[in-house]
Symmetry: C2
Subunit: 394 residues, 2 copies
């Protein structure tokens, strides 16, 4: 085997797959506004209802519920706000521990902090990049104990209240074993589907498999509302309370303004929902294009020794939000060189987020062995993944 | 004097002032999108940058800083988020007390709660509807003590860290005596200018008189971005930290994603900022129209016994965000009847917010005598105040 990867060759392959001319900058992920975006926003402006009241918020929620199969969708300002509310709804309190992957975007851990709870980091599965349930079961087996139907960390003495599986880059976590473990240990499940709108696990949409799921419609997501997010749930009571908590806990009075608890100003503005309605109409097309792009990357890199394109597992259908090139272990030290080469050439690539347990504010949080997450961190490079780049292949 | 107000007469006067046909519903406050809103949003969509990165956010911040005279403006998702960050920046911590009026929108108190601090309610001044500095000075004189440059509540033993003057309905608080008191007691000042964009105090824009000010651009405000807010400050360090905290405390690396503390996802999306840029261009016109409308209400109600239209004090220039009809004390019991009559007739009027110390979650918070706030609550009815209703008078 060669001692070094041919980085120029990798760059050439990327350019060939995305079919963009040399010299043209290729972003990591751009939204695509070619549907009814303009029409709906115009309608919204003409109606004068641009804020949290207005028809597009209701419609966006209904469309999202229909698409995902969730009984309820509650639209909020972003995925972080959705996570915060989801944890509050499941009674995550000050001093509780919440299990989440070290390999995730910082919002997952921050939402736990907002509840004054403690992130407790768990390792990833090489096959899904999400939580490794087998390793988790072993860990909980010696670290956790159940007393009166509540799970405790034997070392810290603290309650372990919930677990947040994150569908990294849109790839569904293997949810069945994870739900089994959660059931056994009485852990509430908040599914972080921020990246996985359009991804399914055994035919069911991600975000609808736990008691609550959350989504994001940030500018870099498969569907964008500028900034936006949603809480999904099949539970009528939770969904009603989500709506209440995200609208300053306001009580409906004939004319008055009353509030029955400390609430949040988290509702999605109508103008952002208008954008969302137009985007959701195009979602099936976006998913198809992104899956084709992933396949094209897979084909193109098939014969290149030393790298792999990450592909979905069995029983799942991924939206391939961000394609990941995995350098073989022996070439991991070339990651920065490849990032430099490609970015300087205008082909925007990115490493994965710094692992949570290495961030200043989360260094002292409890954690298990995180060797797989650390290994993935060393080897992942995200490739340009905008839906329109895959349209040639549909 | 008559025993009862002629409510039909009041309704007639309102209709006459706003010059709208009988039968047409007249909202309390509608935004007005007749400028470059569409053009800028279209530009924003065409650029593909709808989220937190993008040129309109920068431009909106610069325009806002120029208009208010603040050295820095940091655009965020809403006024509540702005307040939350402002308090964090001024080191408001768990267990601290923060002084704020009982007569305000619930967000003012909620932001204090988000910092795990304790709202401490103070009374209002009949002339400004904002904090009564004279009464506050008396209260602090016997309730507070200064030890080592820090103010403490002698009863609770807790640190009193900050004070939040709120410019109610756009009417500037009498800031000079309030700033004197804050200086004397070492209190940080966060100016809640959510309602007072366009209002000045002795020639200086509200929101720029304390160390930090906040604004709101919700759908019901004089300028709307759908949902939006801003942090204003003349302090370079505070502004830089505001930007950092509202963008997930992300550190700029060549390609990586690092964060050095628990941050927030609070930046204003670019598409909302595009709306804001167009709205700010029209702000001087909106203020002029609203001031004319207020004058027209004042003229029209001048000769009606038993009610007054609230007018600005000396040395200030109010944006008259919401006009307030004040029932004389002896007619206060007719408030609900007038609300019912007008709303049923399609003339939307509203009582002021329920006072903070009467809300379930804030009932046990410390407070001074709140008799003026209670009296104002009994007597205020907000009248239709959209800028376009005043255009006839400009």
């Amino acid at each position: 085997m060669k001692k070094e990867l041919d980085l120029q060759k990798i760059l050439e392959i990327i350019r060939k797959v995305v079919k963009q001319d040399t010299g043209q900058e290729i972003m990591l992920h751009e939204p695509c506004f070619r549907g009814n975006e303009w029409r709906y926003i115009r309608e919204c402006l003409d109606s004068g209802w641009v804020s949290s009241a207005g028809g597009f918020v209701d419609r966006f929620e209904k469309d999202l519920a229909r698409f995902t199969g969730a009984r309820h969708a509650v639209a909020v300002v972003n995925g972080t706000a959705a996570l915060h509310i989801a944890l509050l709804l499941l009674d995550v309190n000050a001093g509780d521990e919440v299990l989440l992957p070290a390999l995730t975007f910082v919002a997952t851990a921050n939402a736990v902090s907002y509840c004054r709870a403690i992130p407790h980091f768990v390792d990833s599965d090489m096959r899904t990049m999400g939580i490794d349930s087998e390793k988790l079961a072993d860990y909980l087996g010696y670290m956790a104990e159940i007393k009166n139907g509540t799970c405790y960390n034997k070392r810290s003495g603290k309650r372990i209240k919930a677990i947040i599986p994150v569908h990294i880059f849109g790839h569904p976590v293997d949810m069945d074993p994870l739900l089994d473990i959660a059931g056994h240990y009485h852990l509430q499940v908040v599914e972080d589907a921020a990246e996985s709108l359009g991804s399914t696990y055994k035919g069911r949409h991600t975000g609808t498999l736990g008691r609550i799921g959350i989504m994001s419609f940030n500018g870099n997501k498969i569907v964008s509302t500028g900034g936006g997010g949603a809480i999904l749930s099949n539970d009528d009571v939770l969904a009603k309370m989500a709506r209440h908590l995200t609208t300053t806990a306001r009580i409906t009075r004939t004319w008055g303004f009353e509030h029955d608890r400390v609430g949040y100003n988290y509702r999605l503005p109508n103008i952002n929902a208008a954008l969302g309605c137009a985007q959701l109409e195009q979602l099936p097309r976006f998913v198809a294009a992104k899956r084709c792009l992933a396949q094209a990357y897979g084909e193109a890199f098939k014969d290149l020794q030393g790298v792999d394109i990450f592909t979905e597992g069995d029983n799942v259908n991924s939206n391939y939000w961000l394609n990941a090139l995995l350098l073989n272990q022996e070439y991991a030290m070339q990651k920065d060189a490849l990032l430099q080469l490609s970015n300087e050439a205008g082909v925007i690539t990115r490493p994965v987020w710094e692992l949570m347990h290495r961030l200043l504010m989360y260094r002292d949080c409890p954690r298990m062995d995180l060797s797989t997450a650390e290994n993935l961190f060393d080897r992942i490079i995200n490739l340009p993944s905008s839906a329109f780049l895959g349209e040639h292949y549909v």
